[in-house]
Point group: C2
Chain length 312, copies 2
């Protein structure tokens, strides 16, 4: 048995915790509720209590524990400060130091999307690689940049904010970030649905989606698999912008592998094939063979990556 | 006096060499011709002879010398191999090892654009910063990515190949790289001239450029400064694509500072203002205040950066 550590994934609804062994990996995972009341001031206490209870329950001696890693839903600047997690009510403060004082162990902190990328590098879709870009296609689009096996958070904590690459020049609607034409507006689950609805409204093309009451990204993928032309147009549009965005990423950091995660990635190989088709036409010849993989850890990527911050 | 090292900038026409002191900086620089005959096989010998002669001439003892840094005009992969410098006739080989054997000292090698970025970080426009993106607007467009004070070359040596970001969707001509719509096609000196000629041919707009026999990027900037509307359109077009490209870069690596170099950067503050105007509208709010600076070392950036690889 190796040494132990805790990985914490702090979300807006639930806090996921994992106890990890440096050799055997995940030993146990559990969840507690995120109490957002009182400006989010109860959260670190709750995490601390959950960890200390687990230590007592398992009769672990403190010498066995390397520390705690935590992924938070907000930017972490290069000085280690967490810079306002709007969903939690948090402003700017040193989460690692405050949680460290409560648990009496070293704590490392990272942005949740970046931490998930590290998790996928350690035990997921990018296992065996050291230079990884993860892009997460969920309600929004996020990402994480791993260079030499380590998260690069960026000076303002904005490295890997791939959802806000300005790639859709003709976009007329405003993104949640306040800009127009972000990748997220066409490549997130929400964006896919929005583009589908737009095409359904603006064209007379027959489509099985016209009979669907609540259109989701999954419905669009399913329709495309069944040969629906309009659904296919929506996905080709998404694939082309993803190809452009990842070609841009390759020209900046030239990684070994792109890992595609988030709810949309449940579409599987069809999604990878779609993105890769456009990527290869958009990227410089020397980066055409960059690998693509699906994320494998799902919602556990956060606790794996958080633990890996402590172990590496 | 500190310790000494050599910085070498290997170009297609000339090889620039510098002798540096870790405390006092550049002590002396000189040039030799690049002999490209015999498949480029004479080049490393010539560099070695130049360095050993200088050591003898200055009566330097080998113990005083930390090593040699060299920037080469081709990709350097993450394993340290130089991967075909087409201009020199070189294939793939371990330049650091071969030159090291000849001079009998440690050698570090980097791609010339990346090495120039490191030079600007050490003693140029990005002095005092650790996380730097340099973009060089010359005949082509190149770049370099510095994270934590070190060059990130990329897995295929393509990190910082910012000239080939696919940003110009309506471009119909083919770039030197074989793709269509690269940043280089609108933002290099060549690209600026090409867009100016296109506008002169395709519109009837009056312009002082219609009276110029040989249009250069400098003529376009000069005309714009004098209020020429067509020249101004060319530069606004360039500024918008540069703003988009650097916003993309910020969403990937989120640096402290962008340094703009190359011949086009001689236009000065007008260029920075132009790019920054568009950058601020395209980038995520948290990266709006990323600094911009002009490169300061000109053609010396290469030898400075090469020396810095050895010193850091």
């Amino acid at each position: 048995m190796g040494r132990l550590c805790f990985g914490v994934d702090l979300g807006g609804t639930a806090i996921k915790l994992g106890l990890f062994d440096s050799e055997d990996g995940l030993l146990e995972s559990w969840e507690i509720v995120t109490r957002k009341e009182e400006g989010g001031s109860l959260i670190l206490d709750d995490i601390s209590v959950a960890i200390l209870k687990k230590i007592e329950e398992r009769k672990i001696s403190k010498e066995e524990i390397l520390g705690v890693g935590i992924g938070v839903p907000g930017p972490v600047t290069s000085d280690g400060y967490v810079n306002s997690c709007v969903n939690l009510g948090w402003g700017r403060f040193d989460v690692a130091k405050e949680l460290g004082n409560k648990v009496g162990m070293p704590v490392k902190v990272g942005n949740d999307a970046n931490v998930a990328a590290l998790g996928e590098m350690w035990q997921g879709g990018a296992q065996g690689y050291q230079h990884v870009v993860m892009i997460t296609l969920g309600t929004g689009v996020g990402g994480g940049i791993i260079i030499n096996g380590k998260i690069w958070e960026g000076v303002n904590g904005a490295a890997g904010e791939l959802g806000h690459m300005p790639v859709v020049y003709e976009e007329t609607e405003t993104c949640n970030c306040g800009k127009k034409g972000c990748l997220e507006q066409v490549a997130s689950a929400t964006g896919i649905v929005k583009v589908a609805k737009r095409l359904l409204n603006e064209t007379d093309k027959p489509s099985s989606l016209r009979r669907v009451q609540y259109i989701s990204a999954k419905e669009v993928f399913d329709a495309a698999k069944n040969g629906d032309e309009l659904a296919n147009d929506v996905l080709e549009n998404m694939g082309e912008y993803m190809g452009i965005a990842l070609a841009n990423v390759a020209s900046v950091v030239d990684p070994e592998i792109f890992v595609i995660g988030g709810g949309v990635s449940k579409a599987g190989k069809i999604l990878i094939d779609l993105i890769q088709k456009y990527y290869k036409t958009k990227t410089l010849f020397s980066t055409k063979n960059t690998k693509f993989a699906l994320a494998r850890l799902g919602n556990d990527a956060g606790i794996y990556g958080a633990a890996k911050m402590v172990l590496s």
